[in-house]
């Protein structure tokens, strides 16, 4: 069967409306009919096409949004992206008539940083409403509160730092609560910012005795900063001091001289430049290009009890992530999320972060279009890397079953299982190698990776 024949039902065709009926022109009630009338090669193929079409329709209820998205990323990328993020049970939920959400009024927590863009943007864009749910976005003062309100069930779903669901599932620093990462919110998008008085001390070796702020112990910020320092021969536990500073306090405490720098989320790096308090030393992209930052997730119990509400939330966030990832109009995105209800930051600062065209605090205008990217795929290799760093710095002790935990928390595996059952070809792998400051990370050999670092806490 050629592509042409199926175009009426082809969800990946940007040039035709998605009619949910097949090329023969007649409206069919069910996938079975479509299979019979359109003479597909196998009934399975027809069913799968139908499921796919229903899926895309569910992800993008608005026709113009779907077509705009497909035109921007192309057919193949769109198929791979959508296929790679389908979580547990949601395939059926999506393929069915959209299931009635078990719980319509949902509270979703967030911390006011640009990483939350997809989560936030979904509201003004009307994506939550499109999915039939009322989402109340609750601005939360810090990451400990984010964690606690998922544990106490005050929030149904939440913005997380991507290591947090792993830590919560393992019971590190809190009660043990199985928590899942449905999507990564963004990749890159952080930086090491230093106080202006250190402008001449760009060599990390000279940072002995510095005091750094990170937003939370279980954060990419903490792990990337430790990685970076150790790569320059500084032991993050003994040569410098790393303390927890809530993002909104970072600039003020830098100004007061309480900390010498921070590896923090945006817009606070840019805000430090804007207020002429600090300068951007390196972007986190320069440490690991493509590292995860924040995540969107919920307790596994919530998913079990409210599969339809979960699916609706998931569709809204995925849709918003896609828009964020393909949008060429980052100024408009900044306008959407800068107001007091969301980030409460000057619009130009948010725009500088999102467009990647920014003053660095040293007198240069830098143009880094991929300073912050939105890519929702929860690669399990990311989880493995996070676990290796938890092991490396003594947050977890003893044997670690890396892939088991990664697969339990990062919801890619369930998605692949579901896709396999539906006769789909799962996306290429769940584990991707990465290059971090020139060193190759092989997610298949996590224990070797941990032991390969000269500076760590395991033996210290």
């Amino acid at each position: 069967m050629s592509e042409q024949e199926l175009s009426g039902l082809d969800p990946y065709d940007a040039d035709r409306p998605l009619l949910m009926r097949c090329a023969c022109g007649r409206q069919h009630a069910a996938a079975g009919d479509a299979g019979a009338d359109c003479a597909p090669t196998t009934p399975e193929q027809a069913v799968n096409r139908y499921v796919e079409a229903a899926l895309v329709k569910a992800l993008f209820p608005r026709e113009e949004v779907r077509r705009q998205f497909l035109r921007a990323v192309g057919r193949r990328t769109a198929m791979a992206a959508i296929a790679s993020v389908l979580p547990l049970g949601s395939l059926q939920a999506m393929a069915q008539e959209r299931g009635r959400p078990e719980k319509k009024d949902l509270k979703v927590g967030f911390v006011s940083i640009t990483c939350a863009t997809p989560l936030l943007m979904a509201e003004p864009l009307g994506f939550y409403r499109d999915q039939g749910i009322n989402v109340q976005l609750v601005k939360t003062p810090g990451w400990a509160a984010i964690r606690d309100r998922i544990i106490t069930k005050e929030h149904d779903a939440s913005h997380f730092l991507s290591p947090m669901p792993l830590a919560m599932t393992l019971g590190l620093g809190s009660d043990k609560v199985a928590t899942s990462v449905a999507t990564i919110q963004n990749i890159n998008g952080q930086a090491i910012t230093l106080h202006v008085k250190h402008k001449s001390r760009r060599e990390p070796k000279s940072w002995k005795g510095f005091k750094f702020g990170v937003p939370f112990p279980f954060s990419m910020h903490n792990f990337l900063l430790r990685y970076y320092l150790a790569d320059y021969g500084l032991h993050p536990d003994t040569d410098v001091e790393i303390i927890t500073v809530p993002p909104p306090e970072m600039v003020a405490r830098l100004k007061a001289g309480e900390i010498d720098g921070f590896l923090g989320p945006d817009p606070y790096n840019q805000r430090a430049v804007y207020d002429e308090v600090g300068f951007i030393h390196v972007l986190s992209k320069d440490i690991w290009d493509g590292h995860p930052c924040c995540a969107f997730g919920m307790s596994s119990e919530f998913i079990r009890q409210h599969p339809n509400s979960f699916a609706a939330l998931f569709r809204a966030i995925i849709g918003s992530s896609f828009i964020a990832s393909v949008s060429t109009d980052r100024m408009r995105m900044a306008k959407l999320i800068a107001p007091a209800a969301y980030l409460n930051q000057p619009e130009e600062v948010v725009a500088q972060v999102l467009t990647g065209e920014f003053p660095d605090g040293l007198g240069n205008v830098r143009r880094v279009p991929d300073r912050a990217i939105f890519d929702p795929v929860p690669w399990q290799s990311m989880a493995v890397w996070i676990l290796t760093q938890m092991k490396r710095w003594g947050y977890i002790k003893g044997e670690v079953d890396y892939s088991h935990i990664a697969e339990q928390v990062f919801m890619l595996t369930d998605a692949k299982k579901q896709m396999g059952m539906a006769g789909w070809r799962p996306p290429e792998g769940a584990y991707r190698r990465a290059r971090i400051m020139g060193k190759v990370f092989d997610p298949q050999r996590p224990e070797e990776y941990v032991k390969s670092f000269p500076i760590h806490k395991v033996m210290a």
Binding site: V138, K139, T140, E154, A340, A341, G363
Partner: protein, 288 residues
């Protein structure tokens, strides 16, 4: 005598005004933005400055402490639109104050309902007073915010936890003052009542309550003062709504002008509440 007092009041008011003006002048002078040298910049430098929000035309952006004018502007802006409601994270000052006052009213009300009757019982029985005293002494000095983690963990709702914290900080001054007021009602009055064989209920309501009312009101005034202090801190901690959340949200934006508007408003509301209880106190006081 009267004219003298009025003259004093005028002079005091004048001095207050003078102090205010001096303070404003000093503040204005200290926060004057430095004059920018925009003339001799290269194109790159100009672009850089513009990205930092320092356009060559127009006034320089002040990145530090707000000037009195900025404070005035933001006060005017907030006070002109107190009922703004742009979703759960962006509400006008009036709505935020309403949320805080409601929480204080709930917590304080619950504390009055519990502590006043309990204080009566304790005050009327010297045995109970002595038995309970050690507990009250231990619980009284605990900072209300120290209860917050415990409240969040057990109540599992941040707004209700805020109300609980108000309750717990209001209870002790109320309890102590009520029991003290009741215990120190003059013995002669109680003896007279006893010889007249007044029933216990009537004794409590018609003899002890009026006699102890000024002390009870003092307890309420102290409690309300603490409650208003605590609610702002509690809301900063849990977020959501309320004037404390407003302060935190503007701090998050590093907007000191807006924070100062809120601080002034908190001060004014606190004063009004205090005056309210002072007036009530005067109403129930009497000369011996």
């Amino acid at each position: 005598m009267k004219a003298q007092r009025r003259a004093l009041a005028w002079r005091a008011a004048g001095l207050s005004l003078l102090l205010l003006l001096a303070l404003l002048a000093l503040w204005h002078w200290a926060t004057l933005p430095a004059a920018g040298a925009a003339a001799a910049m290269t194109a790159e430098q100009r672009e850089y400055a513009e990205l930092l929000g320092q356009s060559s035309e127009g006034p320089a952006r002040n990145s530090g402490f707000p000037t009195p004018a900025e404070l005035g502007r933001s006060a005017l802006q907030h006070l002109s639109d107190p009922w703004r409601d742009n979703g759960p994270n962006d509400k006008g000052l009036g709505i935020q104050l309403g949320h805080s006052l409601l929480r204080v009213a709930l917590g304080f009300g619950a504390a009055v309902l519990l502590a006043v009757p309990l204080g009566f019982l304790v005050g009327m029985s010297p045995l109970a007073l002595r038995a309970l005293d050690p507990y009250i002494q231990v619980l009284k000095p605990i900072s209300p915010l120290a209860w917050m983690p415990l409240a969040l963990y057990t109540i599992r709702d941040s707004s209700a936890s805020g109300v609980f914290v108000i309750f717990i900080c209001s209870v002790w001054p109320l309890l102590i003052n009520t029991s003290f007021g009741v215990a120190s009602v003059r013995r002669e009055w109680l003896d007279v009542a006893r010889t007249l064989e007044v029933p216990r209920g009537r004794l409590a309501l018609q003899v002890i309550l009026p006699a102890a009312a000024p002390t009870i009101l003092t307890g309420m005034r102290i409690s309300m003062g603490i409650a208003w202090l605590v609610i702002v801190a509690a809301e900063m901690l849990v977020g959501g709504t309320g004037i404390g959340y407003f302060v935190w949200n503007e701090w998050n934006n590093l907007s000191l002008a807006n924070v100062m508007v809120a601080i002034l408003l908190i001060g004014v509301v606190g004063m009004v509440l205090d005056r309210l209880f002072a007036a009530l106190q005067r109403k129930v006081s009497y000369a011996d």
